[in-house]
């Protein structure tokens, strides 16, 4: 795995077009899914998807090959979304989603949740509805941990947050998810 990562880092440094094509193909689903959850909009997720890969091309030399590529990819995507939110004078993701220790704020009412948008297109299922009731900062770590299967330190890297924060969000998120799946409020 380490050899693969090193080879990947070298390829990114060279801006190897074949490698980039292959990476876009390989990670398209996971990156798009992550961006949909992050931006709450499929259209925006499409824009950020493209921007993320352009950033990967431009900053490929910064990938050191010591960490999982997907963690680096999600970090770039997340930073782009946050930069955009800041540039639009919106609240940062943290502010937009919730206070760390208190009750959570959901996406604003005029911004339908990505999960709700998905529900209109895809089969309604318990987990969609339950996850939509989980506060966004918890939802993000739950998805990174259990869907993207990133390690705790990798998640801390993506979020630029301390490990203790990641763990605390995961425990709270897990509780919230269980509560939501039982039909209660998160």
């Amino acid at each position: 795995m380490m050899d693969d990562s090193k080879a990947l880092a070298k390829g990114l440094q060279r801006r190897d077009p074949e490698l980039l094509d292959q990476l876009i193909e390989q990670y398209q689903y996971r990156l798009f899914r992550y961006l949909v959850h992050l931006t709450a909009s499929r259209e925006r997720a499409e824009d950020f998807f493209q921007e993320t890969w352009i950033r990967v091309l431009e900053r490929g030399h910064q990938y050191d090959g010591k960490h999982k590529f997907e963690a680096w990819l999600f970090t770039i995507a997340r930073n782009l979304v946050i930069d955009w939110q800041r540039s639009k004078k919106m609240q940062s993701l943290e502010e937009l989603t919730e206070r760390e220790e208190g009750a959570a704020k959901e996406f604003p009412m005029n911004e339908p949740s990505a999960l709700h948008l998905l529900l209109s297109e895809e089969e309604r299922s318990g987990v969609h509805e339950a996850l939509a009731r989980v506060p966004a900062i918890y939802r993000e770590v739950l998805l990174l941990r259990f869907q993207e299967e990133l390690g705790l330190e990798e998640i801390a890297g993506v979020l630029a947050a301390p490990l203790s924060t990641v763990k605390s969000r995961l425990y709270r998120g897990l509780e919230a998810l269980k509560g939501a799946m039982q039909g209660g409020a998160a």
Binding site: R15, P17, L20, D21, I24, E25, Q28, Y29, F32, R33, V36, R42, R44, E46, D47, F49, Q50, E51, W53, I54, L57, E58, W84, L118, E121, E122, S125, G126, V127, H128, A130, L131, L142, L143, R145, F146, Q147, L152, K167, L170, Y171, L174, E175, L177, K178, M181, Q182
Partner: protein, 161 residues
Amino acid sequence: MNAEIHARAQKLIAQERVEGISQAEREWLAAHLRGCASCAQDAQRTSDALRDLRGGMTVTVPRGLAERTRFRVQLRAQELREREPKSRLLWIMCAVSWALGIASAPYVWQAIQWIGDRTGAPRLVLEFGFGLWWAIPALFAAAIVVMENLRQANERNSSGR
């Protein structure tokens, strides 16, 4: 069983999924779950929730998104390739400038001293002038790099969202 034991079991149920638990803790938990229906139910709910989270969240990637992205990435790569010789030339010029600066330093200092003798300028001014002789190429290169970065940022903003 007292409440503390159930609390410990529930903590371990979550901890096992989030950061892992030791073999001894796993064995303790398994033994507890065999004898405690409510904690066993909690463990089952946790497993079900995570199983659904892993398998039940599907998103459809828009048709053609990967192709459009590849196209944009290729265009950008081409732009970067075209720009590379220019920036390489800039660095070569800076390097040559520094090399000339080093090679000519003794003569430049002699020239500055000669000017100092003729004008009576204080030594501090002469040294400052000599320092500038060294700093100008670096300042020039830094200014170009900053301008280039600003130009790229503007380009991104105007071509982006």
